[in-house]
Symmetry: none
Subunit: 195 residues, 4 copies
Amino acid sequence: MSTASPVTPLAPKRRRGHLRVAAILEAAEQVFAEKGFEGATMTEIAARSKTAIGSLYRFFPNKEVLAEALAADYVEKVLESLGAIAEKARGMSARQLAEALVDYRMRMKEHRRVVFLLLEARGGLREKRGGLGGLLRAHLISILRTALPHLDQAGAERMARLTEHLVRLVNELSPGEQAVADDVIDLLEFYFTKR
Amino acid sequence: MSTASPVTPLAPKRRRGHLRVAAILEAAEQVFAEKGFEGATMTEIAARSKTAIGSLYRFFPNKEVLAEALAADYVEKVLESLGAIAEKARGMSARQLAEALVDYRMRMKEHRRVVFLLLEARGGLREKRGGLGGLLRAHLISILRTALPHLDQAGAERMARLTEHLVRLVNELSPGEQAVADDVIDLLEFYFTKR
Amino acid sequence: MSTASPVTPLAPKRRRGHLRVAAILEAAEQVFAEKGFEGATMTEIAARSKTAIGSLYRFFPNKEVLAEALAADYVEKVLESLGAIAEKARGMSARQLAEALVDYRMRMKEHRRVVFLLLEARGGLREKRGGLGGLLRAHLISILRTALPHLDQAGAERMARLTEHLVRLVNELSPGEQAVADDVIDLLEFYFTKR
Amino acid sequence: MSTASPVTPLAPKRRRGHLRVAAILEAAEQVFAEKGFEGATMTEIAARSKTAIGSLYRFFPNKEVLAEALAADYVEKVLESLGAIAEKARGMSARQLAEALVDYRMRMKEHRRVVFLLLEARGGLREKRGGLGGLLRAHLISILRTALPHLDQAGAERMARLTEHLVRLVNELSPGEQAVADDVIDLLEFYFTKR
DNA sequence: TATGAATGAGACTTCATTCAT
DNA sequence: CATGAATGAAGTCTCATTCAT
């Protein structure tokens, strides 16, 4: 009765709880980004979010759940953005599509390294990657096929792989390197046009 | 500047010479790749390399030094490869350059995730990145300017940033995705030609 | 001497009266029996008795007090039963006495392991044992001397010690072992007769 | 390779280790006896045996293993004692048998409450009870049938149950109560004779 | 008064590192 | 030098208890 439920973050029931959870997630994102999954400590996450360690565990019964919550949060936002692009995809020019994708990544920047760390790097979460990362890939493929109707499924998959990687670069650019983002757009435009 | 840290592996000059050390580095690479820096344990590295824990510590006085040795090892190999490309760079066509760069990455594949983990992800090693990562960047810039003489320094830096990122994708490709590597070459060719 | 500890359950006089308290005591008995004193958690006791944790603490200001209340409850019942035997003790035959004692234990069975755990095992409550356990012993001695007038005090004490232990076995018998209870009666009859 | 082995106490390889393990087991016995399984802390066991906590965990990878080692130790000694009785069982008189059994318990006294706590009380170890406790029971049954050849299996089982319980009393006797042990012998003699 | 969120001491356990043999 | 036992700081997580609502 109290042990057999799947381990999930507790949904806070009071108003205060929501603020607390938001603070925790933000701190966790920072710490995970800085130290990686193993390097991050629950103690530090608690301290940075000014949460008592016991309270942290009330909401996220263990470190893995916290990481997953972060990932889920991220995916949710990404899917939202991709959804917006998908709606406008039909009839977009190659350049417009390239711009839209780079722009969406740009807006994801705040979440920059968490993706990297939690969706793409960690072993324990690897299985979820099929779930989360795969979901993103699928959306991207669908967008590509809508905007570039001449693509077949295999071609779109291949293109999605490269596009995803290329676009990811914009998250790693320092303020002084923003010009590189323009190159990314140019390259994508060429890629979308040529194929 | 970034050399001569107080703690260094024993007899770094003939590191490759010592069989034990080679075994340790190989085991360390595996374990770091699988578990990340924090997740990796000295005990497991010792076990996998069939080295007594005490002996491991004779060669590498702590975990960080071991990771740095690995990184140095990696950089050494990369510089070697890049050096070979640099020698042939003059007069290379854009396509030939693209192919050479992708090919060199291909051959680095075994070291794939160690780069990722130690050069790019870890916080404690971040500072070194300036040293190691920066070194690679400098070489790449030089290669680009040699092969593409019309580039100015700023343009080459910008191009190096994107090229480095794009080329990195080939390390993450599964056997079934090798076709994507061809796209990378095509894109680089276009990139090198157009600019 | 052992009364009036500074911390006591609220309104102990009409403890049975309060429905909530009855539910808590029942749940506590179960949980203590299953998990032991340290293993039992206030949270689980609260949950099983459908009491908010805050309310649980209103009635029993800490875990120890709850355990003591349980023990006191148990002793109360036992004294009641022993009292009934004591009344009929004069003139009882050895066999009748043996049967009465085994029978009383039989009826205590529901409380079986709580005795064990709280009166006999726990260190912190050990001191109270002098109070509670000693009380039971005294009653038993008095019963023995009434039914077996030839006993002197020392002999009765000695006999009480063994009788108490022997009789305790019936609480541990599984349904399939009820025949052993008959042996206990036979042994006690012999014991009471011979001495 | 390092995780898939059953969890067992590490056999110390050096001389020092054996002393350490002995000290740990002794401390553990004390602490478990005083506080019970949940109440006992690894920290206290380490402190009382003057062992660093890390060393304690080297030998006993967790609390449960430590408790089991203790239980196994106990069972070994008991079986030894029972074995000695079994050898002499044929032809023993009822009184001699009673005396032997009480005597063997007497000599087990040092281990007194650990039995109680680990073999008979704890939930997690309950399964083992079938193994360990059941083993003892089986030996006792065999001894009874040898010394009292007229018993059938069912009768011996029943008798073993009561005998085991009765004999256990001698472990709880304080120095001033030794006379009770004589009563136990008398009762057992009667029990063995009459049946 | 009832509720359950918040708190933090402390338990178990791991592992980098040291050091006696 | 090699070995692996010893050490203890630090991390994860639990739970008795308090307190704001």
